[in-house]
């Protein structure tokens, strides 16, 4: 596909199809409706099927059923819908099934509104549902990343057999940018015959069983331990981040997704004024890129976390990553508002002044 | 002369007695001894009356009984 101007939601949908996803299960919710709409129009042409679930609860369980066969499947939703899916995501994680979940997040809690927000950070990075599990979470900051991350999400979910989430706020879903969507090489579903259902003959007349209830505490402990080892492996192999102008920085702005675009402009403007500001942008929210913060140059005197969530959520992980060694402040807007470039600049200038006066 | 024969997988029997009730010829009863799981298994105490109808096996929830017809 040639470079084309596309809306975020549609770019994600097409990227998924080009990554070999032929089965989509979802339920309408704003601001992500273009994804199921796109899928319902384009999947049949790609030899696949779109199924509209009767709820998000049903949709994620359809995803679980589809995933159990070893084929690439996905669902998309927005914040309140992801809450409803959390039970299913916990089951999918426990059953070690691969699937991709996209959250085009909106304002909350409750129904909130349909405008962009980043209030689902904790839900996404702490799993959302019950039990000791993680979802691999990718946070694109532009639409080409949204495309690439969606395709990576399928590869990673297959490689580690776990749910992978794209956490993109409503801006990412609704804005348009030029994207290049290439077909991704995918595994033969039959290569999953060692664990997936539906390959009885291929396994030589042996059945497969997928279960998540382990009544024996020794078995459950062993299974949980195995999953934790997998998470450690993922953390060391797949953690991603971007450093922007951090080399001699005195103040680090940190943000992900849409807010990182605001911060990038602010950092560039402040650099033009001669102020030593840089940016750390996590691309994976879980695993959180701790080294992106522990490896900062000695010149750094403080960190500012910029988020579209009341009280800020990612800042907790930043504190953990820095072992609270650096002063950390937050700014942002919430409830459907986004912070302005000027707001971030002013906060940076204020913090730098404080640091100098110390 | 027996027209049928029933074999019992004693260790799988839970002593529920549904087969005893279902047998039209009343050839089955709960035995006195215990199986390894602590249940008193079913036994065919009147084998000569068995007609091999398999009513016992049809109602057994634990697939304990195998039934043969004798011609």
């Amino acid at each position: 596909m040639a470079r084309a101007l596309m809306k975020g939601t549609e770019a994600i949908a097409e990227a998924a199809i080009q990554a070999g996803c032929k089965y989509f299960f979802g339920y309408p919710i704003t601001p992500q409706n273009e994804i199921p709409e796109y899928m319902s129009a384009h999947l049949p042409k790609a030899g696949g099927t779109y199924v509209q679930g009767e709820s998000e609860v049903a949709s994620i369980n359809m995803v679980m059923g589809g995933a159990s066969t070893g084929y690439r499947v996905m669902t998309t939703s927005s914040s309140p819908g992801i809450s409803l899916m959390s039970e299913g995501i916990s089951y999918i994680a426990m059953a070690e099934l691969p699937c991709v979940i996209v959250n085009i997040s909106r304002g909350g809690p409750g129904l909130g509104n349909i405008l962009p927000a980043q209030g689902d950070y904790r839900q996404a990075t702490r799993g959302g549902g019950h039990g000791d599990y993680h979802v691999f979470v990718l946070a694109p900051g532009n639409l080409q990343e949204a495309v690439d991350f969606t395709q990576d999400a399928f590869d990673i979910s297959q490689k580690y057999r776990m749910p992978v989430m794209i956490l993109a706020d409503g801006f990412m879903g609704q804005m348009m940018e030029a994207v290049d969507i290439k077909p991704r090489k995918t595994e033969d579903p039959k290569s999953n015959a060692d664990w997936a259902l539906g390959w009885f003959d291929e396994r030589g007349g042996k059945r497969a069983v997928i279960y998540s209830m382990l009544m024996n505490p020794d078995e459950l402990e062993a299974h949980n331990t195995k999953m934790q080892k997998k998470y450690e492996l993922i953390s060391s192999n797949e953690t991603r981040y971007e450093h922007f102008m951090v080399d001699d920085a005195e103040l680090i702005v940190t943000s992900y997704g849409t807010t990182s675009r605001v911060c990038r402009s602010a950092v560039s403007n402040l650099r033009d004024k001669g102020l030593k500001v840089g940016m750390v942008r996590p691309l994976t929210l879980w695993p959180f890129p701790n080294t992106a913060y522990s490896d900062l140059p000695k010149s750094v005197k403080g960190i500012l976390s910029v988020e579209m969530s009341a009280g800020a959520q990612m800042v907790d992980d930043v504190r953990l990553a820095t072992l609270c060694d650096l002063p950390i402040d937050t700014t942002g807007r919430w409830g459907g508002h986004s912070p302005t470039v000027r707001q971030v600049e002013e906060k940076c200038e204020e913090l730098l002044k404080k640091a100098i006066n110390k | 002369m027996a027209k049928g024969r029933v074999t019992v997988r004693e260790e799988f029997c839970k002593s529920c007695g549904l087969c005893v009730e279902a047998c039209p010829k009343k050839t089955l009863r709960i035995a006195d001894h215990l199986n390894p799981k602590g249940h008193r298994p079913v036994e065919q105490f009147k084998p000569d009356d068995c007609v091999g109808c398999a009513m016992c096996a049809r109602i057994c929830p634990d697939v304990v009984l195998t039934v043969y017809k004798i011609d």
Partner: protein
């Protein structure tokens, strides 16, 4: 004089495993009938099933077929996902009344309405078994349970739901029948119904549903034989046996 085996263990039944069901619980009968149907249709190598949350959660230990545990009540949705991806497979769910008619009422209604070829085995024993005898949506009026200690009161708890009748109002289902597992004559009929429900799917004839009236001797506080009698005398008048829908 010669001897022929007229009744034995179906090959699909995992012979070496002891089921965890209480003595006299009719789950085992339903399991066996499913095994027999799978064997007779020669579909063991292409059947995928979903165990519910409830007493049958460990069903995958007893049947030698591809199986997965579904979340509570969600088996029809999970089955929809499986069948959507693998239309060449035979997919069935096996659910109790708490799973299917309470928490999973939404999923079953929509799966039946969607009419994607599936087979649903519904075990109605008018109580929650696994959790210890609590009131189910199918618990009869006046029936005592651990959460209706003085008997189910319609003013507080509503009325027992006749699931098969409810689902039969939908345009989607191909076949709905209610059977019982309390005596050989009913079990022979139940076998025919379950066989048909699977055969329909083999022939790509939409979604089939068999409700099996079952006993729960432990939580009913009855001996297995008495539980069968109670079912026939008390449950059956409210949940009459028979075909509620048949496309043919």
């Amino acid at each position: 004089m010669s001897e022929t085996q007229v009744f034995g263990m179906p090959k699909v039944w995992k012979s070496e495993v002891h089921t965890h069901y209480c003595p006299g619980c009719t789950h085992g009968i339903a399991h066996r009938l499913v095994c027999e149907a799978i064997e007779e249709l020669g579909i063991q190598n292409r059947t995928m099933a979903l165990a519910p949350v409830g007493c049958a959660v460990f069903m995958h230990q007893y049947l030698d077929i591809d199986m997965m545990e579904a979340a509570h009540g969600r088996a029809p949705a999970t089955a929809t996902g499986m069948k959507t991806v693998r239309a060449d497979k035979i997919v069935f769910t096996y659910q109790g009344d708490g799973d299917l008619a309470s928490i999973g009422m939404g999923e079953i209604v929509h799966a039946m309405n969607r009419s994607l070829p599936l087979t649903v085995i519904f075990i109605n024993n008018a109580i929650y078994g696994m959790t210890g005898g609590q009131m189910a949506p199918t618990t009869l009026l006046g029936q005592k349970s651990t959460t209706s200690p003085t008997g189910r009161d319609a003013k507080v708890n509503g009325y027992p739901i006749r699931v098969s009748e409810l689902l039969a109002t939908l345009a989607g289902p191909a076949y709905i029948e209610r059977v019982a597992l309390t005596s050989p004559k009913y079990i022979i009929k139940a076998k025919q119904a379950i066989l048909k429900a699977f055969k329909n799917q083999v022939e790509n004839k939409g979604v089939s549903f068999v409700e099996c009236l079952s006993t729960c001797p432990t939580n009913w506080g009855k001996r297995p034989v008495d539980a069968c009698k109670w079912l026939e005398e008390t449950m059956m008048p409210y949940y009459p046996l028979g075909v509620l829908k048949d496309f043919e």
